[in-house]
């Protein structure tokens, strides 16, 4: 499988959980979230955050609020719901175990 498609497949599995994880530190607004995740390589481009956020909002894992900004347009802040918190904790546990297993396989067969 070519590198791009491999990367796309891997991202699909984890991108939602990574978005949730960033929000563990508190509410964020879209641009910050997009920049951070694109810089780390989890998002292909900043815009691809928004379909993910749309799904997370529809599923009740993320909620939003508006805040008036003195120096510009009002901003939308995104934060976790209780369900979102539960899901990301579950992901944290599952991911650590799973990625350790994958790394283990690659190391023993290198």
């Amino acid at each position: 499988m070519e590198a791009d498609r491999l990367l796309a497949n891997l991202r699909k599995g984890v991108v939602e959980s990574c978005v949730l994880a960033v929000m563990r530190q508190g509410e964020v607004y879209g641009v910050d979230l997009a920049r951070r995740l694109t810089a780390s390589g989890v998002l292909a481009s900043e815009g691809t955050l928004y379909p993910v956020l749309a799904r997370l909002r529809t599923s009740g894992l993320v909620t939003t609020r508006w805040e008036e900004s003195p120096s510009g347009p009002p901003r939308r802040y995104y934060r976790l719901t209780a369900s979102g918190e539960r899901d990301v904790e579950q992901f944290d546990t599952t991911w650590r175990r799973f990625s350790a297993a994958v790394t283990g396989i690659l190391e023993e067969t290198a």
Partner: protein, 198 residues
């Protein structure tokens, strides 16, 4: 809102078109989120070209849409918690005493409604009492038949569990004494087999 900028308007129109084949609700959320993003980025001084380039190709964004919605972990209901399991067990053990038959039936209904037991356990919890009662009565019947035959009772052929009581009365007695004990046993089994939701 900076939708007056022709480049931004074109970008958003392209995004809408690319999302047109997907679910309507999600489309609006995505376009809205991207519009917010553009407004914020422009307000912080980033040039339009850069903002749109960082956002990426609308087709790629649309391709990321329409995935399966993540299922939120269901909030454990009352029947999936310990306290719920205790209620079900109590109804099965004692429901029939409080409101004959109906009380027990309510317990069984709640048992099946709960996600805290596997189907195997639910089947056991439902049929164990009737089956055990039938087995005990049948066994006692057979046993008394054997003993009375070997004891050569004067009224040959009459089977009873005691020398002085008629058969029908014995069966009723057996059921009335054993049934509550069996129900309690079933209830204890259910409490032990309960798996509360995390």
């Amino acid at each position: 809102m900076n939708t007056t900028d022709p480049e931004v308007r074109e970008y958003l129109a392209e995004l809408r078109r690319a999302l047109a084949t997907g679910p309507l609700g999600e489309r609006e959320l995505v376009v809205d989120g991207v519009r917010q993003h553009i407004d914020d980025a422009l307000a912080s001084g980033v040039p339009v070209q850069q903002v749109l380039e960082d956002l990426g190709d609308p087709l790629v964004i649309a391709a990321a849409a329409g995935g399966p919605a993540p299922a939120a972990s269901p909030v454990p209901g009352f029947l999936e918690r310990r306290s719920g399991s205790v209620l079900v067990a109590l109804l099965i053990a004692f429901g029939g005493l409080v409101v004959p038959v109906a009380g027990w039936i309510v317990g069984v209904v709640l048992l099946w409604a709960s996600k805290g037991w596997r189907t195997v356990d639910k089947v056991v919890g439902t049929v164990a009492s009737p089956v055990l009662v039938v087995l005990v009565v049948f066994g006692a019947h057979v046993f008394s038949g054997v003993t009375s035959a070997s004891a050569a009772a004067p009224s040959g052929g009459q089977t009873s569990l005691g020398p002085l009581l008629p058969e029908a009365y014995d069966v009723t007695w057996t059921v009335l004494l054993l049934l509550p004990m069996i129900q309690i046993g079933v209830a204890v089994y259910l409490l032990l087999r309960f798996r509360p939701a995390r």
